[in-house]
Amino acid sequence: MRKLAVALLAAVVAVATPSAGGSAQSGKVAMLLPGSINDQSWNAAGYAGLQKLKAQGMEVAYSENVQAADHIEAMKDYARRGFSPIIGHSGRFLSAAQRVGPEFEKTFFLVGSGSGGAKNVISIDIANEQFGYLVGVLAGRMTKTGKVGAVAGLEGLPNMIASMGGFRLGVKSVKPEAEVRVVYLQSMEDPAAAKEAAFSLIAAGADVVAGKLNAGHAGLIQAAKEKGVWATGRSLGHTAIAPERVLTNINEKWDEVYVAAVGDLKGGKITGGYHAYGYHTPAARGADLQYNEQRGFNTAVPAAVATEIEGLKKKMASGELKVKPTKDDARGGA
């Protein structure tokens, strides 16, 4: 039912800006996004990457709100028009990329937050387990009730296992007796439902709520604001909703990731398969914990906790600390 509206919208919104010279150096990059570029979260971050590539002189085009049924046709369309790489900004685009890939051998397909690939199909992701773990450590240190909660979506998706599993492992690493409750929602784009989910966690005693949602994440922050508990966000815009309640944000630098990945692709450094960007890849770390432009954390976070987290980042960079969440670590419930 959304298809028709979305197709119309995509047609209206898709913008292709011709590059000045069209030289061999610049290329044509297209991006498909599963949601709207104004969600202050996942889709906004991907779109920022496309804007950076454009600033580097590339010709760019994008389609928003691309629904599952349109994945393959949208990719084929851009491939026929000579775009390469074609970026699918969500793991949901992986199966479409694997279907279309063999048909357009000279085109590269980059799947943001994907989990596999071969030949011209490449999955890149941020090291979600690292960032989830650090937020977990923060939540574990900040909770007074010994109960923390998280609201997420798409249970079982590899990047969600990494995020939520990493979170639970992080909490348990500093407070083994703490209770970690994860609630999964049917939609990551429904802020009213996310707010209710956060309320349910808070009612059960959680005084820190984290999670991983898209447009829905604003509802989670709103719930923390109304109930006076701590929350972690996914963009600096979330700090703006509740400056006194947001501890930090996992500010994903998909702009840097895509710039690095497109560079690595041209340099032949990455080929078919899975590549993660995190503290172990200093050129593009994938994300960072940011409260606002100046600070990493809310002033309510004790300096000792901030120092502890900085130390963990260094251990991740050196490879001394490797977080490996399992499906069970990311399970729903307590």
Binding site: S36, N38, E64, V183, F199, A218, G237, G333
Partner: protein, 306 residues
């Protein structure tokens, strides 16, 4: 625990209640209210835009009602003037609303990008004395204004439909429009007014989401609630207070679903997430069989035929 679940049921049920009450008026007048989802979405959108432009939540609410009414007018023209199929028109309106709100939102951003419009939310109005009651206080008397408005509206619609001449005329338009005509009233006009009222009320249902609960508009934020409201109308057998009860039951199913997930169950979250819809299906299968539609629902009335 009970208090928490009941309060959540009321919160989740509130947007459904508005949509269901609006839809009920339309259906009792003989017009299927398939377009509820779109009317809610248009209301959610118009409310945020107006509040953002004027910094007035009051004007935002007016705009929400107007947004829903604007879509309702499309339904009126298509179904009442041109006798278009009510189901198809409703679905078309839903698709139109989804595309149009997403498109117009981008008109407020630079270079066609969708902006983030943040507006204040309607704060709870605790009712003195009553708010301090045990259990009931938290569930019913510490709610934001639109929740009270929804309950009052349900009572009002129930009394109006059952006890007033105008209410009788509306019901007659859905049961036997030719009797209305014979009585000297134009049933097409009655239906048109009912659809417009439906749009206004469903638009306010959208405002519950965008202005009361979240404080912003995101694409497709109604996420199917209009269809759940349709089910609530049928479960409530086209009676306002019963529809209210159905909305609270659906709200409770969703509230329970979230809390059940909080326990460690050996069941996939995807299965647990289905419960509100399974409840709707089960209740429809049980109650729906004995439900009697307004006799003349879906029957187009064309001026030429009279």
């Amino acid at each position: 625990m009970i208090e928490d679940i009941l309060a959540a049921s009321v919160r989740i049920g509130t947007p459904l209640l508005f949509a269901a009450l609006g839809g009920l008026l339309s259906e009792r007048a003989g017009v299927f209210a398939v377009g509820l989802e779109g009317m809610m979405l248009a209301g959610a959108f118009a409310g945020v835009i107006a509040t953002w432009l004027t910094s007035s939540l009051g004007l935002g609410l007016v705009a929400s009602a107007a947004g829903g009414m604007a879509l309702a007018l499309v339904v009126v023209i298509a179904t009442q003037r041109y006798g278009a199929d009510q189901m198809v028109t409703g679905l078309a309106v839903n698709i139109l609303a989804l595309g149009l709100t997403s498109f117009l939102l981008r008109g407020f951003g630079a270079r066609g990008e969708a902006p983030v419009l943040r507006v204040p939310t309607l704060a709870p109005w605790p009712i003195p004395w009553l708010a301090d009651l045990p259990v009931l206080g938290a569930v019913l008397f510490r709610q934001p204004p639109l929740t009270y408005a929804g309950i009052v509206l349900a009572l009002g619609v129930a009394v109006w439909l059952a006890r007033t001449r105008a209410g009788l005329t509306l019901r007659a338009a859905g049961e036997n429009p030719y009797a209305v005509f014979a009585g000297g009233t134009d049933p097409v006009r009655v239906r048109a007014l009912a659809i417009v009222a439906c749009g206004a009320i469903a638009g306010l249902g959208g405002a519950v989401l965008s202005l009361q609960q979240v404080g912003t508009f995101t694409d497709g934020m109604t996420n199917g609630r209009g269809y759940i409201a349709l089910a609530a109308i049928i479960v409530g057998r086209w009676r306002p207070m019963a529809a209210l009860a159905a909305c609270v039951v659906f709200g409770a199913a969703d509230a329970l679903q979230l809390r059940v997930q909080g326990f460690r169950l050996p069941v996939s979250s995807y299965v647990i997430q289905m419960t509100p819809y399974l409840v709707a299906l089960a209740v429809l299968a049980g109650v729906g069989r004995s439900a009697r539609l307004p006799a003349a629902i879906g029957v187009p009335l064309l001026r030429e035929r009279k």
